[in-house]
């Protein structure tokens, strides 16, 4: 680690780790409820568990992205963060808003709008918080010695993510219009600007881990984020098929959604190619595994499984069924969850000076989590496809169909247990790394943990 202020990232990563465990806990509550075991219904009804589950997802990923930005931007800009104190204030206020929102969900304090349930007063605090975060990042970048493409793409992703939160705050009395603009936030985040953040972080990790020339990596970064927007912006149309919107979205959404896997394919090929091209034998193999893993699994989860149900003829039947949960789980995990894990795996040895990455348990964490999530995705797929046929094609009553597919939730719970074991090992290793140390920071680039074995 070159700059002392990069250590701010540690606390964002720690918050991420805490929140993913909470998120998984609520996932189990929901899976058991689907399986027919809803003993917590009186205290945590399904809608509270579900809202907590998906909002914790957003918050732990954002916390991971923010940590990544606080780590990457000083290094790319070649200067310390403009203010460490304000970065900590931003962290604490971010955590407080998140905790208050989650507690509020258990007391009916929410807006019933999927993914955007945070109540309005807290929305304003989110805006202030994100403005503070962006202020710190952009000021550091502006005052820095260099403005690299990697840093600019990452910063652009963060700025647009903040701007796109705003359409979700406009009130409409028409449910269809409310949904229309809700997708400006949710879709254009996860299939748009978050991919810029992903591209930026991925480029940074590949530069560091593979040793391939920055100019080459950044050129392809432009191509990939170009493909993302080329397909992703009009790809929003796949949310506009059946919500009271005009028919031209069926054509536009269908065509551009079919192109969306290209960006993820580009991301996967990019990572694999750079890995093969790079001559550097970096000792932190597990960071490389997570980096290549995020690129490949995102192609499967976000790209292919997304394509599996964005054709309008298919989506007519799968819209609003567990097929969406199938795609959602592998997409979020592959594209963003594994990305945060990659960044943490890379940064922790450099911040703490400890070589926990050498332990075999890291490999177990990786494979248990990835295989567990693939199993969960398969369980959702089986449940979703059966639901579509029984309910939508055959016309059985909703609950009759649900009871038929209940067994798949047992499989889901078993696979989720594997996944959770992997995540818990990862978190345990995170704790074992300990806090950032002065020694590691003072060593900078000379520190042993960053040196490639072949160097």
């Amino acid at each position: 680690m070159k700059y002392k202020s990069q250590r701010v990232a540690y606390w964002f990563f720690a918050l991420s780790m805490l929140l993913i465990i909470l998120q998984i806990t609520y996932g189990f509550i929901m899976a058991f409820a689907h399986y027919g075991m809803d003993g917590l219904h009186n205290w945590i009804p399904f809608n509270a568990a579900r809202t907590t589950h998906i909002n914790l997802l957003v918050v732990w990923l954002l916390s991971g992205f923010m940590g990544a930005a606080y780590y990457i931007i000083p290094e790319e800009a070649q200067r310390e963060l403009v203010s460490v104190k304000w970065a900590y204030i931003q962290l604490i206020s971010f955590a407080i808003v998140g905790v208050v929102a989650v507690i509020g969900f258990h007391f009916n304090w929410w807006e019933g709008r999927k993914f955007l349930e945070i109540p309005r007063p807290l929305d304003y605090l989110v805006v202030v918080n994100v403005l503070l975060f962006l202020g710190l990042i952009l000021a550091t970048l502006y005052k820095g010695k260099t403005q690299t493409t990697t840093a600019m793409v990452l910063a652009m992703g963060l700025v647009f993510a903040a701007l796109l939160y705003l359409p979700g705050m406009i009130f409409f009395d028409n449910q269809a219009l409310d949904s229309f603009f809700r997708w400006w936030v949710v879709h254009l985040w996860v299939e748009g600007v978050w991919e810029l953040i992903m591209g930026g972080i991925l480029a940074f990790l590949l530069i560091k881990l593979t040793g391939v020339d920055r100019e080459v990596i950044e050129k392809w970064l432009y191509v990939i984020v170009g493909l993302t927007f080329l397909s992703g912006i009009l790809g929003t149309g796949h949310h506009y098929y059946y919500i009271g919107t005009p028919k031209y979205w069926l054509v536009i959404g269908g065509i551009f959604s079919a192109m969306e896997p290209l960006a993820f394919l580009g991301m996967a090929l990019f990572a694999i190619h750079m890995y093969r091209k790079g001559g550097r034998n970096h000792p932190n193999k597990i960071a490389l595994s997570w980096t290549l893993g995020t690129a490949i699994v995102s192609f499967a989860g976000a790209g292919l499984l997304g394509l599996a149900h964005t054709l309008p003829q298919v989506n007519l039947y799968t819209h609003g069924t567990l097929v969406t949960a199938m795609h959602g789980h592998l997409a979020f995990w592959g594209a963003y969850g594994m990305l945060v894990f990659a960044m943490i795996s890379y940064a922790m040895p450099l911040m703490t000076g400890r070589k926990v990455y050498e332990q075999t348990s890291n490999i177990y964490a990786f494979w248990l989590a990835v295989i567990g999530m693939l199993g969960m995705t398969t369980a959702f797929a089986a449940a979703g496809v059966a639901q579509v046929y029984l309910e939508r094609r055959v016309g059985l009553d909703f609950m009759v169909a649900q009871q038929e597919i209940e067994v798949h939730f047992l499989v889901l719970i078993l696979c989720a247990t594997l996944f959770t074991t992997g995540v818990l090992i990862f978190v345990y290793n995170f704790i074992k790394y300990g806090r950032p140390t002065e020694e590691a920071m003072a060593s900078g680039d000379e520190f042993e943990a960053v040196q490639p074995a072949a160097a």
């Binding site: 009395d173 219009l177 229309f180 191509v223 080329l230 919107t245 979205w249 016309g395 009871q403």
Partner: protein, 143 residues
């Protein structure tokens, strides 16, 4: 071979071009097509109040409407024509958890006025033109 500058032009040019198309289509949808297809002129005060109750209780946390929400409880886009007013009001006003086949709903115990407002909201949603959603089951496959 593609240069970095050309790649940058591809990214910025493509983004601006497709953003403009998206904004243009969105403008048409929001100002013309959506109000027409959703009969926006029929959004009465009762519909607005019903929608507020729907949002306030996060019904989307279990149900879907317009195919959006969670997958724990039935799709409600056409619930008005499928189940009828009396059934809906009974569920909403129940003081004990409604639990068809054992899956529990929160017991909202709404007043008759509140239940009427939610019914008005469902009735308005029921009339929307949704390009064929939800699909009719295939008669050849029915038991």
């Amino acid at each position: 071979m593609l240069s970095k500058k050309q790649a940058k032009v591809f990214f910025l040019g493509g983004t601006i071009f497709f953003s403009l198309i998206f904004l243009g289509l969105s403008y048409e949808s929001v100002t013309k097509s959506i109000p027409k297809k959703t009969h926006a002129d029929q959004i009465t005060d009762a519909v607005r109040r019903g929608r507020e109750i729907w949002d306030k209780n996060n019904c989307m946390g279990c149900h879907t409407i317009l195919g959006e929400g969670a997958y724990y409880a039935p799709e409600l886009t056409r619930v008005y024509s499928r189940k009828g007013e009396t059934y809906i009001k009974t569920v909403l006003m129940s003081k004990t958890p409604w639990a068809p086949r054992g899956r529990k709903m929160v017991a909202y115990g709404m007043t008759e006025e509140e239940a009427n407002d939610v019914v008005a909201f469902f009735k308005w949603v029921n009339e929307m033109d949704l390009n064929g959603f939800p699909p009719e089951p295939d008669k050849n496959l029915q038991p």
